[in-house]
């Protein structure tokens, strides 16, 4: 098998494994472990991005997601000092129906994907280097305005966070 394909299978397996471990860790119900595994998932996904020729995005993924978002998550977990999730009554009915719904969804999606009707080019040119991305973002296309607005959004988010996490004034 060619190297890219082998790498794909590797990274795909890792992504799914770590994703599963985020959701259902059989050894510990500590939210910290879930956060850690989420970081690993993100890194594996970055690998997948590289395989898809989206180098910039891979870098951004690691920097922003793994570096900033997950750190924030861990901060909050530590702040709230969450312990292990206590065991409460197991709702069997809920588990069964939930799993059933999700499995159904999975089945549907897989069936559609492998239905053979995806609109794709025969031999696609490989694009996606950073320079093209930059050009697309700033000059061509319609992404300049959203870009600016997103920066305002970030500002708004910041203000919101500060307001929301203020302690009640006595």
């Amino acid at each position: 098998m060619a190297l890219p394909d082998a790498l794909f299978y590797l990274f795909a397996f890792l992504t799914l494994l770590f994703g599963a471990l985020v959701v259902a860790n059989p050894f510990s119900r500590n939210p910290v472990t879930s956060a850690m595994f989420l970081v690993l998932t993100i890194c594996a996904m970055a690998g997948l991005f590289v395989l898809l020729n989206a180098f910039f995005l891979a870098a951004v993924q690691i920097l922003v997601y793994a570096g900033a978002v997950m750190v924030l998550f861990l901060f909050v977990i530590m702040l709230l000092d969450l312990k292990e999730e206590q065991r409460r009554k197991i709702n069997l009915f809920g588990i069964v129906t939930g799993t059933g719904a999700v499995l159904g969804l999975g089945f549907l999606l897989t069936r559609t994907i492998w239905g053979g009707d995806l609109n794709q080019s025969a031999n696609p040119r490989v694009i996606g280097d950073t320079k093209a991305l930059g050009l697309e973002l700033f000059t061509k296309g319609q992404f300049l305005l959203p870009f600016e607005i997103v920066s305002v959004l970030l500002l708004v988010a910041m203000v919101g966070v500060i307001l929301l996490s203020k302690k009640e004034l006595k």
């Binding site: 985020v22 259902a24 900033a68 499995l103 969804l105 794709q120 040119r125 296309g141 988010a157 919101g160």
Partner: protein
């Protein structure tokens, strides 16, 4: 076997389902939120895959924005969770049923 679009999309779908499972089954609010992030990532993967195999940079653009907005969203969401924890002293989702009729 040549790895094609379908393979990437399958991975994306699986990841999405895992995230959904987490949202539905886990009781800790933060773990639920993390599963939500997982779903977002799955969507990102699908977008990039489409972008790669359809010679279109729009997908990657969208992922760019998704990551940004997700970051903002995480910040705000965590702030909310902190505020909620302060009120209820619990991060267990079964204790947060004030909307019950």
């Amino acid at each position: 076997m040549n790895v094609g679009l379908e393979h990437y999309l399958t991975v994306s779908a699986m990841l999405f389902c895992l995230g959904l499972l987490g949202v539905i089954l886990r009781r800790n609010v933060l773990v639920i939120y993390m599963s939500l992030e997982l779903m977002l990532n799955a969507a990102n993967l699908a977008l990039v895959a489409f972008s790669r195999f359809n010679e279109n940079l729009t997908g990657q653009m969208m992922v760019f924005f998704v990551i940004t907005v997700a970051a903002a969203e995480v910040a705000v969401g965590l702030a909310l969770i902190v505020a909620l924890y302060r009120k209820r002293q619990s991060a267990h989702v079964e204790d947060l049923t004030a909307l019950k009729l």
